[in-house]
Amino acid sequence: MNENILEMRSITKRFPGVVALQDVNLQVRRGEIHAVCGENGAGKSTLMKVLSGVHPAGTYEGEIHFESKQVSFSSLNDSEDLGIVIIHQELALVPHLSVAENIFLGNEKSRAGIINWHDVNLEAAALLDKVGLRENPVTPVGHLGVGKQQLVEIAKALSKDVKLLILDEPTAALNDDDSAHLLGLIRDLREEGVTCIIISHKLGEIAAVADSTTVIRDGSTVETIDMAEASANGEDLTRRIIRDMVGRDMENMYPERDVTLGEEVFRIEDWHVRHPTQRERKVVDGASLNVRAGEVVGIAGLMGAGRTELAMSVFGKSYGRDITGTVYMHGEPVKIETVSDAIKAGIAYVSEDRKRYGLNLIDDIRRNVSSAALKRIAPRGWINENEEIAVAERYRTSMNIKAPTVMSVLGKLSGGNQQKVVLSKWLYTEPELLILDEPTRGIDVGAKYEIYSIINKLAASGKAIIVISSELPEVLGMCDRVYTLSSGRITGQLPVEDATQERLMELMTMEKD
């Protein structure tokens, strides 16, 4: 039973300017549950894309052997033909189609192009039974909760005669009951001989279900742990995985800074937010936090912990429903119903998804910079375009935005320069509190350092700053104080002197009591 079903040998994958994977090896035994761990951006998803043929053969170096044969996939279909099925974190179901239609989507049971719906529904019912989902196959998928949709995805995989099932963060959006059910199902599948690769941040889960665990850091494999062997040796598995995930030196990654703390600028108390469409889900659950002038406060949490949701719900109720709680600016409660209220109150939110939420990519630098504070260049209602250009020019210089002129279109700039434009845009609103959501995502190392320096300068000028990040070294390198968030709850608060990556990771993965 110890034969390897999958061997990925020295996989190296390069993107323009970045090496995403460097000589990665992954061996998965037939019939085991194999966990892959790593920080966000470590290269887990890229590795799975290489495996499933999303990154076709030829765009990477290295070899993939599946069932002892060397394989090269040029598309997702090729890997599925051999029984490798990947289920992504963002479910790929069509909400308006029925459960049965979704299960057989792209793989329709038809004779001469004509579908026998009776057979399809019967077969779907059998698959649903297998995954333990008691739903009518003709129910539209959109009527099911996320947990059940996840099960439909697995039923879909089973319909394809799956040998190796890859689950990317399968429980990130699930509540505890649904998670438990899903993990149980994965164990059952193992009994039936289905091999499973599970990518997860929830280390408790991994320790419970995985037979072995491979840890990836910065695009390289750190080690593969045989879980049974290690726990027989009495090791603390979670601790070992965390150490593997975060163990890197932090010298010279972060600029030095002097900290002078002032009065409290911003505070929220007892903040609750529900999911916009699934009302039963509490996305933020009773969070309270505060920031002082000149302070950089980190919010550390894994994907799906509710970091962005917390920030956006504070920022003019841009996310969620049934939002309750109180926002204080300088100790006074303020009412923030819309984004313009938030801007007026002195709050700026720099989104983690700058292309979607931060920028107008078809427009130029100057109009993006002015877009959140048009009143400043249009005191009497009409815009002083010369002043606008002068303002943009100032930021281009002070932020070191690399573009020939402020008339350059945003879509043509690099990620780092785009990020500087978003920062300029929000600085021009003259905020007192800056919420920076993953401010260095998708940015190269040099630009990261520049962004860190800008943040330090802002703090030194007396602004209150919240940095949301899932990169722990960044949190430790940048912040004065760190809150940890897990499943919508603040699970801890540490001054940076007391914080270690291990300690933070423990708090970030702390599940509900």
Binding site: F315, G316, S318, T338, V339, S340, A342, I343, Y349, S351, R356, Y357, G358, L359, N360, L361, I362, D363, R367, S370, S371, A372, L374, K375, A378, G381, W382, I383, E385, N386, E387, I389, A390, M407, G411, K412, K425
Partner: protein
């Protein structure tokens, strides 16, 4: 900052915008030759302005709607409805002409509120809302008019579209007053350009070389005065032209220089980012449709005044001409790009082509084919130039 580099930069930087002007000049030249000069004759120029003014008025509102990422299919029906309301008030009820105008404008506002409510507040796609509006307002126009056309309008009402400022200052064979107005417009243009140039210098921004500036301003003034001269040699200055000029100036300013205008472009460029920048998107969308309703009412008044009647079938297919004008004028199908002046040029291209082909005696069916082909080519050029610019990046 030499003159030549500026000239090249001026040409290349705004290729998408300047391409349309070049195309316009070429089309005018082409049809001037094909019609043996009739196209630019005084009588025909006057006729052209009168005949297409309502399309241009609609195009102004339409380009704003398109920039915001919507579309309005109902404007033709609204033209019929507002013209019908004016006719009922003025002709059937015998009220003064200005009551009719006000009634038509109020009808336009109500239409705008109706459509704005569904698009902005409820969130139904504008394509659907205005498709419904196309049916609703056409039906209402028929009901208001009891399915018959009403005519004739009193003289004062007809003056809106058919009136000329003629002979106020007398003149030897040409209308002096028209020339004076055009001369004032020319001076105004030159002064405005000069002041803008001075302001740029004040802010230490690059400006074109002085000779280039002079050539450009003189060129524009020459075109303006030539246009005025032809009008003066015909029936003088049409009131509609004054109205149109005022609308172009006002809406050019609103879209390019006001916070409201900027918000339209921001929403069309990236709706989510606009929302997170504090743009009150509902309010902007609502205002856009109310504005479109008012402009459609103005077009309805002009059209009914020109045809001296209100017909249930009036304004049929106007929406398509207005949409075509916006797209030929450089508006992007995906929103976020487009200018009022571009839409006007786009509308004029359509007007010159139709008018030229009419003079040449080409039948309506061929005209439709040609106009359709031009629309596709114009948007194809837009798509092509966008691709090219993203490749060179």
């Amino acid at each position: 900052m030499t003159g030549t580099s500026n000239l090249i930069e001026l040409m290349t930087r705004n290729l998408r915008q300047s391409g349309i002007y070049i195309a316009f000049v070429l089309i005018v030249l082409l049809f001037t030759v094909l019609t043996g000069g009739t196209l630019l004759s005084p009588g025909n120029i006057t006729n052209l302005v009168l005949q297409y003014s309502y399309i241009l008025i609609l195009a102004i509102g339409m380009v704003m709607i398109i920039v915001a990422g919507h579309i309005d299919l109902s404007v033709g029906s609204v033209v019929a409805l507002t013209g019908g309301v004016a006719a009922v008030v003025v002709i059937r009820e015998g009220m003064p002409w200005w009551v009719g105008v006000i009634a038509a404008l109020i009808t336009g506002v109500l239409v705008g509120i109706w459509q704005g409510f569904w698009v902005a507040i409820v969130g139904i796609p504008a394509f659907i809302v205005t498709l419904a509006g196309m049916l609703i307002f056409r039906g209402l126009a028929m009901q208001v008019l009891d399915n018959v056309s009403l005519s004739p309008f009193p003289e004062e009402y007809r003056q809106i579209a058919g009136g000329f400022s003629n002979g106020l200052l007398g003149g030897p064979g040409y209308d002096l007053f028209t020339l004076v107005i055009f001369a004032l417009a020319s001076v105004g243009f030159a002064v405005q350009q000069w002041r803008a140039r001075m302001r740029k210098l004040e802010y230490k921004q690059p400006v074109e070389a002085l000779w280039l500036f002079a050539v450009r301003v003189l060129l524009v003034i020459t075109v303006i005065m030539a246009f005025g001269w032809q009008l003066a040699n015909s029936r003088g200055m049409p009131y509609v032209l004054v109205l149109l000029a005022a609308l172009v100036l006002i809406y050019g300013f609103v879209t390019q220089r006001t916070v409201f205008g900027r918000h339209i472009y921001a929403m069309g460029g990236n709706l989510d980012a606009a929302k997170l920048s504090g743009v009150k998107t509902r309010r902007v969308n609502f205002m856009l449709f109310v504005n479109m309703g008012v402009l459609a009412a103005i077009a309805g008044i002009v059209y009914s005044a020109r045809s001296n009647s209100a017909q249930p079938a009036a304004g049929n297919m106007f929406e398509l001409d207005a949409i075509a004008a916006a797209f030929i004028g450089g508006a992007a199908v995906t929103g976020g790009v487009g200018k009022v002046q571009g839409a006007i040029i786009g509308g004029l291209i359509m007007a010159v082509m139709s008018n030229g082909m009419q003079i040449m005696g080409i039948d309506q069916s061929t005209q439709n084919v040609v106009r359709g082909v031009v629309l596709v080519l114009a948007v194809a050029y837009d798509v092509w130039s966008k691709k090219r610019s993203s490749v060179s990046a």
